[in-house]
Structures are given as structure tokens and as C-alpha cells.
């Protein structure tokens, strides 16, 4: 009885003594994110070009990568890994992103956050098959439905980028099967809607709205004209 109680006390002590370390890591990570965003925004607003040696994105990619190594095993380490790769991509270092992704262990907890960034880099270099190989390796290894859904849905978007809607649809259907009802599944459903209803040659969905000047506007107004519809945000 006494031994059991001592054990429980020791476990409780061990748990509480690791909590401050997690908090410290989380705090440091939040600080880094804030600072890196500020520096990068300032650089870009001043006309700085991505990947120039003075691009803070390059420095921050390494800072986040070191953080990943220093705080290995914590939940923020996974976030730091994905963040590091995002900063590399932001600095147009897509080949480096792919190289590091190919060295990342398949059981690394960063994959659910990192895989979509890796697919963007593969798209940027035109090396879609490098991304596909990674995705297939992850699928052959992981049984985690949530991760599998994310991988399938990222594959789906990649197929869409390559104008392969049939393969894309199949991938999105797999994503839904792996994690039904999840946000990933819902996005996959919207993507399937896009493939079936918004395909080239299909009628552009009608809309009737008002411009910010208060004038009524509808797509039908422009029949006979070529229309470039652009959805955007100021941010």
C-alpha cells in the first residue's frame, strides 16, 4: 500500500515537473512566431525579395528547425518543424523543403501539419512525384485515420493542380472514408463538389449580389463577355 502510494506520488511529481518545461517551450514558440512574422512583414513591405540572403525567413527557418531539435518530443516541436518548412518555402527554398521532408522520419509527429506545405513546394518545383512518393510512404506506414485523411486530401489537391480530376476525386473519397465528419472530410466534400460541378465546360454558378457601391450585379449581366472572377482578401 505504502509502495503504491509512493509510486503515485513520484509519478505525480514527474508529471508536474515536466509541465513547466512544456509551458516554457510553448511560450518561447509563441514569441518566435510573433517575432518572425513581424520581421518578415517588415522585410517584404520594404520591398525585400524572397530568398535574398537578408530575407529573415531564412534565419527563422533555421531558428525553428533548431527549436524542433532542442524540444524534441514536445507538441510544439511538431509545430516548429512545420513552421520551419513554411519559412523555407516562403523564402523560395522549395528544393530544401523537399530534401528535408525526405529525411523526416515517417513517424514524426509533424507530418499532419507539414504535408500540405511539402506538396506546395513540390508544386513549385514541378516535382509532384516527389510529394506523391512521400505521401504513399506515409500511407503505407500509418494507421492513424486523421493523418491518413490529411495525406489523402493533400494528394487530392495535388492531383487537381496537375489537372487530374479523376485521381483527385478518388483521393478525396479516401480522405472522407478515413475520417468521416472531420473538417478534413468536409473540405474533401467541397473539393469533390468543385470537381463535379465546377469543372471546365460546366456552367459557371449564377449569382446575384450588390457591389460595394450598392449597384446590383449578376453573372448573367455579362453574358457575351469574357469574365474574370476573382475571389480575394486584403490580408
Amino acid at each position: 500500500m505504502a509502495l503504491e502510494r509512493t509510486c503515485r506520488l513520484l509519478i505525480a511529481m514527474a508529471m508536474t515537473s515536466s509541465l513547466p518545461a512544456q509551458d516554457e517551450a510553448a511560450k518561447k514558440f509563441a514569441e518566435m512566431r510573433k517575432q518572425s512574422s513581424e520581421e518578415s512583414n517588415k522585410y517584404r513591405e520594404a520591398g525585400g525579395k524572397p530568398g535574398d540572403p537578408r530575407d529573415p525567413a531564412l534565419k527563422w527557418a533555421e531558428v525553428f528547425w533548431k527549436f524542433r531539435e532542442e524540444y524534441r518530443g514536445t507538441s510544439v516541436a511538431a509545430q516548429a518543424t512545420a513552421t520551419a518548412l513554411n519559412w523555407l518555402r516562403h523564402a523560395d527554398q522549395d528544393k530544401e523543403v523537399l530534401a528535408r521532408a525526405e529525411k523526416l522520419p515517417l513517424d514524426d509527429p509533424a507530418w499532419d501539419r507539414a504535408i500540405s506545405g511539402v506538396s506546395f513546394s513540390a508544386k513549385n518545383t514541378g516535382e509532384y512525384d516527389r510529394f506523391l512518393r512521400l505521401a504513399e510512404s506515409l500511407l503505407s506506414r500509418s494507421k492513424d485515420g486523421k493523418l491518413r485523411a490529411i495525406v489523402y486530401s493533400t494528394m487530392g489537391r495535388s492531383w487537381l493542380d496537375r489537372d487530374r480530376p479523376q485521381e483527385a476525386k478518388a483521393a478525396f473519397e479516401s480522405a472522407i472514408r478515413e475520417s468521416p465528419g472531420s473538417d478534413t472530410a468536409k473540405a474533401a466534400e467541397r473539393s469533390i463538389y468543385e470537381i463535379t460541378t465546377l469543372a471546365i465546360g460546366k456552367p459557371a454558378p449564377q449569382f446575384a449580389a450588390r457591389t460595394i457601391d450598392g449597384r446590383p450585379i449578376s453573372l448573367a449581366d455579362f453574358r457575351g463577355k469574357v469574365v474574370l472572377l476573382n475571389v480575394w482578401a486584403t490580408w
Binding site: A199, I212, V226, V227, N230, V231
Partner: protein, 82 residues
């Protein structure tokens, strides 16, 4: 013909940006953000382009800010085809 739909939630910010950048084509924004009807109809997030031909059919799409030349070429081709 360019039509822009903004998924900004603050319509005033959008107005200010449009005025400052002197965009002189129709701007739609109802402040509903990404839930706005047109964004849902076109499954569109920030920086999505759809090219609609003279018959109202979808002729092309682009989902990032990179690769705009592809869209420019498509629009030119469609505009120059009677």
C-alpha cells in the same frame, strides 16, 4: 470584364483598399467572409480565379497567386475569339 469578390469581414477595410489602389472594376463584399455565397458557390478561398467564357461556361481556374500568366493567356485567347 473583371469582377472581384472579397472575403474580407470588414467592408470598410475593403473599401479603403479599393480606393487606395484605385481598382476601377466591380467589387462585391458583404462582410460575411469566407461564408459569403459566391465563395461557397465557387469553393473559393483567398486568391482564386475563375475564367468564364462568353457562353457563361467555366473556361479555366487558378487557385494561387502564382501562375497568373496561364490565366492571362486564357483570357486573351477567349477575348480574341469572337
Amino acid at each position: 470584364m473583371v469582377v472581384s469578390v472579397s472575403i474580407d469581414t470588414d467592408v470598410q477595410v475593403l473599401r479603403d483598399t479599393v480606393a487606395r489602389r484605385q481598382f476601377n472594376w466591380p467589387q462585391i463584399c458583404d462582410g460575411k467572409g469566407a461564408d459569403t455565397e459566391i465563395a461557397r458557390l465557387y469553393n473559393a478561398g483567398a486568391s482564386t480565379f475563375y475564367v468564364v467564357d462568353r457562353d457563361g461556361k467555366i473556361a479555366g481556374t487558378l487557385r494561387t497567386a502564382k501562375g497568373l500568366e496561364k490565366i492571362e493567356r486564357l483570357v486573351e485567347k477567349l477575348v480574341n475569339t469572337p
